[in-house]
Amino acid sequence: MNPLLQVTDLETTFHTPNKDLTAVRNVSFSVDHGETLCIVGESGCGKSLTSLSIMGLLPAKGRITNGTILLGEEELTKQSEVQMEKIRGNKVSMIFQEPMTALNPVLTIGFQLRESLMIHRQMNKKAATVKSIELLNKVGIPSPRERLKQYPHELSGGMRQRVMIAIALACEPDLLIADEPTTALDVTIQAQILDLIDELQQEIGMGVIFVTHDMGVVAEIADRVMVMYGGEVVETADVDAIFEAPQHPYTKGLLHSVPDVDNPMQELKIIEGSMPGPDDKITGCRFHPRCPFAMEKCKQKEPPLFNLSPMHTSKCWLQEVTESESNTVIRG
């Protein structure tokens, strides 16, 4: 059976008057029903653009220039705008980072909740209201009937994010894309929201793409992790492998920059330098200027994705070295 979502060789380019800037290059991954894939990386690594590419909602001048996005049987890059409108909110939904700005300040919660039900389920206002109350109950909002009449500014940040989730899940989508939904919340609320997403995922059986830069959240929620750098996927593995045996130097760097609660004296390591922009010309591996293990080869030739195991890939020449070493070991 096909996975729920299969993205192959996705390339997203921005057309500017001077030149074309490629922001997402050769990204391939898949998500299955009930699975959570975390996309991790620094700001500007292409995480959000990857998710917007799936939604078909790239900013003006951005275009998918290569690759396929298969949702079930449907090829999303070939759908017309009208067909995409039927898919968005119905089969794929999205929640955003800032619950403060992702709700319309001049419309009531109830109005915004009813919208997707009225668009996709052709419900009338009455039926949609009943369903909205049910949804608010489901996401753990007390006295939902009164909430429907309230405006976003009357709710706390955590409440608003719950409302966002209720709106996104109103039509029980197959796939939920969560773009840093907990970044703007404090840790206790963050944990509640993560639990809520997990719970609803079990219930609906949807696949979740969770975009984040917080390794703590990754450990909590992910089944599999995809690490992105400079618009490329550098390492994909299941969550245990990422934390226990990270292969790519960038993944290692990310993990080293997370504070360890048990070791108050620990000095955090940083990854020197900053993320290359899409217009920086870098030969070979895009990470080599910042990589502590960079070799001569890294500067000249772009590494392919090495398969360490069926579920674990890493885009780094170090893998070749280890591979050949292990080969010699076997030969010897």
């Binding site: 999205m94 319309n104 001049v106 919208e115």
Partner: protein, 297 residues
């Protein structure tokens, strides 16, 4: 515990119900705006109940008592050169002014909102629509209205059409400006991820965000519309005699400026008070609706 929660809920509810009242209270804090509201309210009442407020009809001539001064013979504001009751003509004139003002502003708003939404939302239409709007802006308003009336003929309906066309560009600019900033907001992207069509987003999600500047615009525009109607009628392009229109009444009264000054002054005061009232209320609304404005500045 539950009573505390109940109390809180009650408070929240009463606060919510009074949101419009809060705006109104902010508005009335402004003394001038409060005076404006009183004037507008009395003009509305006078207009609605005009036939019951006056004991003479506006067209009722009495050639035995022409150009009577105010207070004479039961005519509160006197009579004009045909012996028609000035008070009756004034309140019936208020009717006309308000009807013309409201309908031309309404039509102008509809046109302006439509063009502004399209121009702000679709980049491709923006250039075209806004150049047409600039073109309309380049004409002096009264000249544009005269041009339109010259083409369509003189009547009150044509005055309404002329003034509404003249209201379109200002409204279109205001709406376009709001749409340009609102469409970049994350909640619009969020609506798109829910599969909302462009039309739905424009009408149900962007338009409600533009209401505050539009309310102010409409109020201010009422003043201009009423003034322009009178100006056009004064020039003989709008309401024709014997219609009790303020501008036309001034035009008739100016011939008797020396012997019966009240014939021109009374409708003139009517225009002045109405325009003044709508302008100060518009100003007050701008302050009351915009929380970013500091009243002390």
């Amino acid at each position: 515990m539950s009573s505390v929660a109940g109390l809180k809920e009650k408070q929240e509810k009463s606060w919510k119900e009074h949101r419009l009242i809060t705006i109104f209270r902010d508005l009335v804090k402004n003394k001038l705006a409060a005076i404006g509201i009183v004037i507008i309210a009395s003009i509305f009442i006078a207009a609605v109940f005009a036939p019951w407020l006056s004991s003479y009809g506006p067209y009722e001539q009495d050639l035995s008592g022409t150009k009577l001064a105010a207070g004479a013979d039961g005519h509160i504001l006197g009579t004009d050169n045909y012996g028609r009751d000035m008070w009756s003509r004034l309140v019936h004139g208020a009717r006309l002014s308000l009807v013309v003002g409201l309908s031309s502003v309404a039509i102008g708003l509809i046109g302006g909102i439509g063009l502004g939404l399209l121009a702000g939302y679709y980049r491709k239409l923006d250039g075209l629509i806004m150049r047409v709007v600039d073109l309309l802006f380049a004409f002096p308003g009264i000249l544009l209205a005269m041009l339109i009336i010259a083409m369509l003929g003189t009547s009150l309906i044509n005055v309404i059409i002329a003034i509404s066309i003249w209201s379109i560009p200002g409204c279109a600019r205001i709406v376009r400006g709001s749409v340009l900033s609102i469409k970049q907001q994350e909640y619009i992207l969020a609506m798109k991820t829910l599969g909302a069509s462009d039309r739905r987003i424009l009408l149900k999600h962007i338009l409600p965000n533009c209401t505050a500047p539009l309310i102010v615009f409409a109020t201010m525009r009422m003043a201009t519309a009423i003034l322009s109607t009178s100006a056009l009628s004064y020039l003989g392009l709008g309401a024709q005699p014997p219609t009790p229109e303020w501008g036309a009444m001034i035009a008739a009264g100016q011939d008797f400026m020396w012997e019966a000054p009240h014939m021109a002054i009374i409708p003139g005061l009517g225009i002045m008070l109405t325009v003044f009232a709508f302008n100060v209320v518009g100003d007050g609304l701008r302050d009351a609706l915009d929380p970013n404005m500091d009243m002390n500045v």
